[in-house]
Amino acid sequence: MSSDFEKRLERAREASARLKEAIGEVIVGQGDVVEQTLWGLVAGGHVLLEGAPGLGKTLLVRTIAGCLDLRFSRIQFTPDLMPSDVTGTNILVTAESGARHFALHKGPIFGQVVLADEINRATPKTQSSLLEAMQEHACTIAGTRHAMEEPFFVLATENPIEMEGTYPLPEAQLDRFLLKVMVPSPTEDEMTEILARTTGGAKPPPPRVLGRDEVLELRAACRDVAIAEPVMRYASRLVRASDPGTQGAPDIVKRAIRYGAGVRGAQSLVLAAKAVSLLEGRAHVSFGDVQKVAKPVLRHRLIRSFEGEADGITTDQVVAALIEAVPSRPENVEQAIRR
């Protein structure tokens, strides 16, 4: 048994390394973005990438999809996109025999790696067409429920909502994303490297390094990662402290947050932390893992108050304050360690 899980951990480490290497052949820099996207893939959650246009979000997603031997589909969200454009619809077809019947024309949601590009450019109605698929890995069309083929992994990109022509994602929609990954601007060196790679001759597509079974295996291993009760309790305390109504919540939460993260947030925190442990080759979760994933997991789940928005307090600042304020260990143990 011991050797089995050890092997699985080893395989996970190797798969992670292979995937990172393959992505690295196309994507310059963005190590954290790639890392966090892999957490989502391994944990079985969906990832929302936010960044200004032209930072390589779509390319990153396409590259990841290309590295995985999975069916890829892309939805370009536009203001006039209809829900049926996402989910698909029944259309009338004529058989060779001349008989006519309705046949399901599956939409792009039925891919295994779905790129929802510029998701906040569509109306909330169209955005919400993703809800069922993302949460339940199934889609109901004309009264018929259609299961998604596993692994099902949605990678959405969005532009900052301050930009013209965007619709903020509803809270329910945001909550379905395991992680929200911020895509930063490349550094000077990275930019130079990007220029070198993209302005020359066409490059071959990245190799497919992970097949469907391997992804499913990674996801299963992620669920098997152990987590001690104090670590789970820490995750709970962090999430509870994000609620301004909770006694002992930090001042910044009381001032800047209207709604904190909920149970789904705490689940996501633990799952993401397990993914981190797995990809680092550990069979258990540490406090550090929870702290590491806290920002991408919680940043889109905290709804700022008017005061918080007016003061320009970001949710990342609030999460940082939470990590600072909520002790991971009991106080007596913490004091003994510090001595």
Partner: protein, 612 residues
């Protein structure tokens, strides 16, 4: 939790962890024990300092036991707050940077689910972590900054036990008499208040007596409300001073010269030396008694001479502008006449009865003729005669009346003063002649026996002042302090302590002879009455003095030296003072105001030294 771990790797982990946990727990317990000892010793040092301060020397070293007690308490606390496996595991994870491997292993080891895929991996890694770690890396420090109190407090206790105790603090209580007294009705004050109704010599004295009574009433009211003891004591002392001054007011001040002239005249008559002494002492009750004694004397010539002396003394006092003294002497002369009449009547009656008298009556007659103690002998004889008359049969009474008529007729033509007065004899004979007359006579005798002869006005006033003085003493005693002994004429016959207002009789050879000695002393209310309270007239030529001092010839020293009013400022043994202190010692003027005498006593001290 650890018990459920199955062998073999689980047991290895359990053993390793138990070893580590023991180390951690021991050191944590040690820290608590030391903390307890530090607190105990610190408290012990404080208690030791308190024991030193309060001079409980024997307790000081025992305070070190506080350290042991604190250590025991610390051990108890350590036991109660002993870390659980989970806490130890978290501590070890933190110190060994094990990323919660040990905590997870502890938890997985305690679970029943032995098929947990991660279990073996986590436990194996936890064992690796623990086995590779050095005990130094995870040793909790048991020394805390406050543990420095242990040697410091122990040293302090040692030092405090070694050094000598501080000197006993000087207790500074309330100044004496500063406590408040509240008495509804202080006994004794009523006697001073009664002075209101006393007969005064003149309107000024009346006013003074009324003021005394009013002051006493005011003091009584003040006491009802409650006042400082010393304030009340000062008020009573003022009252006493005023009463004393009043007692000695006859012939005082401007009338002093007149009094002394009168005294000189009285002293010329040997029979009146005692009376002169009593007047000199301003003891007018005694003066009354001396006059009564003279009135009882057998010889009419003596009485006549005494009357003459009183006349001359009164005249001398008048000349020296001492009308009060003169008035008192004239009143004494009248009293002498009246008393003499009464005595004569009693004597004649007694002689007429003759053998019909009882032995007691004969003794009383003898005492009366000898001068006796004054009114008492007269009362006694009157009582005995009344008894004797009551026993007479009508025949005996008739016979007695006839005898007396005969004696009265025989007495005709005899010179006055040699035998019984004719008029007295006649009156008695007429009274005895009828049963009604006899009854009237008996009534008269009973009255004489029951009521002592009335004193002079001054004597009566003096009695009331003495009562008031005693009342002031009682009031002083009622405040809780011993009353100041007041100089009063006392009685000290036969060497026994005097007890009142009677003069020392000087019997048993200790004083004068049967009271006739002019130097017989008087008691100050507590001592024998036979000391020589007053010097006699000193013949300057017979006194030898090394200092060759000139003696103030012919002037007696004051009989009562109260230190307040008897003498005048400047009086010495051989110099008569002028009473003018300001002239005698001008530099001393305002000395009391400049002195450190407390404000509340200044007035009293001032009055004490006030020149008359």
């Amino acid at each position: 939790m650890v018990k459920k771990i199955a062998p073999p790797e689980d047991r290895r982990f359990r053993d390793t962890f138990t070893r580590w946990a023991g180390r951690v727990r021991r050191r944590l317990a040690l820290e608590r024990v030391l903390t307890g000892a530090a607190v105990g010793l610190a408290v012990g040092a404080a208690a030791s300092a308190a024991a030193w301060q309060t001079r409980h020397g024997a307790l000081r070293p025992w305070m070190a036991a506080g350290g042991a007690l604190g250590a025991v308490v610390g051990a108890g606390v350590a036991r109660r707050r002993r870390w659980k496996d989970g806490e130890v595991a978290l501590y070890l994870d933190g110190r060994l940077a094990a990323e919660e491997t040990i905590s997870t292993a502890i938890e997985l080891g305690g679970r029943d689910d032995k098929d947990d895929p991660a279990r073996a991996v986590v436990i194996t890694r936890a064992v690796d972590v623990l086995e590779k770690a050095s005990p130094k890396d995870a040793r909790p420090s048991f020394l805390r900054p406050w543990h420095a109190a242990i040697p410091v407090a122990a040293a302090a206790i040692g030092y405090l036990s070694w050094i000598p105790l501080p000197p006993a603090p000087v207790t500074q209580g309330k100044p004496p008499g500063a406590d408040t007294v509240q008495i509804a009705d202080l006994k004794g004050l009523e006697k001073i208040i009664e002075l209101e109704g006393a007969t005064a010599r003149d309107p000024e004295q009346k006013k003074r007596l009324e003021k005394l009574a009013a002051d006493a009433k005011k003091l009584r009211d003040k006491l009802k409300q409650g006042a400082e003891k010393r304030e009340v004591q000062a008020d009573i002392a003022k009252l006493k001073d005023a009463i004393t001054a009043e007692r000695l007011s006859l012939g005082d001040g401007e009338q002093r010269q007149g009094l002394e002239s009168a005294l000189g005249k009285l002293a010329e008559n040997p029979d009146m030396k005692d009376a002169a002494k009593a007047l000199g002492d301003r003891d007018l009750v005694q003066f009354d008694e001396e006059m009564e004694k003279l009135a009882n004397k057998l010889e009419k010539a003596d009485r006549e001479r005494a009357k003459k002396t009183l006349e001359e003394a009164a005249e001398a006092a008048k000349k020296q502008n001492a009308p009060d003294v003169a008035k008192a002497l004239e009143e004494q002369k009248k009293r002498l006449e009246e008393q003499a009449k009464k005595s004569e009547k009693l004597r004649e009656l007694a002689k007429a009865i003759g053998e019909g008298l009882s032995e007691d009556a004969k003794e009383a007659l003898k005492d009366l003729e000898g001068g006796g103690a004054g009114g008492e002998e007269q009362q006694k004889l009157a009582e005995k005669l009344e008894e004797a008359l009551g026993k007479l049969t009508p025949e005996e009474r008739k016979k007695l009346a006839e005898n007396m008529k005969k004696q009265a007729s025989q007495a005709e033509g005899e010179a006055m003063g040699e035998g019984p007065g004719k008029q007295q004899m006649k009156e008695l004979a007429e009274q005895l002649d009828t049963p009604e007359g006899q009854k009237r006579l008996e009534e008269e005798l009973r009255k004489m026996a029951e009521e002592p002869p009335a004193g002079s006005e001054e004597g009566e006033l003096q009695k009331r002042l003495e009562d008031a003085q005693r009342g002031a003493g009682e009031a002083e005693g009622g405040l809780g302090g011993a009353p100041m002994p007041m100089p009063m004429a006392g009685q000290g016959s036969g060497g026994k302590p005097g007890n009142g207002s009677k003069p020392g009789g000087g019997k048993d050879g200790k004083g004068g002879k049967d009271g006739s000695d002019p130097f017989a002393g008087h008691s100050e209310g507590g001592g024998p009455g036979d000391h020589k309270g007053q010097t006699g007239v000193v013949d300057g030529d017979g006194v030898k003095s090394r200092a060759d001092a000139r003696v103030n010839k012919g002037k007696p020293m004051p009989g009562i030296v109260m230190g307040r009013t008897a003498g005048r400022a400047g009086d010495t043994a051989n110099i008569q003072g002028t009473g003018a202190l300001g002239q005698a010692a001008a530099g001393e003027l305002g000395a009391i105001e400049r002195s450190d005498v407390p404000e509340e006593y200044r007035e009293q001290v001032g009055r004490y030294f006030q020149p008359k």
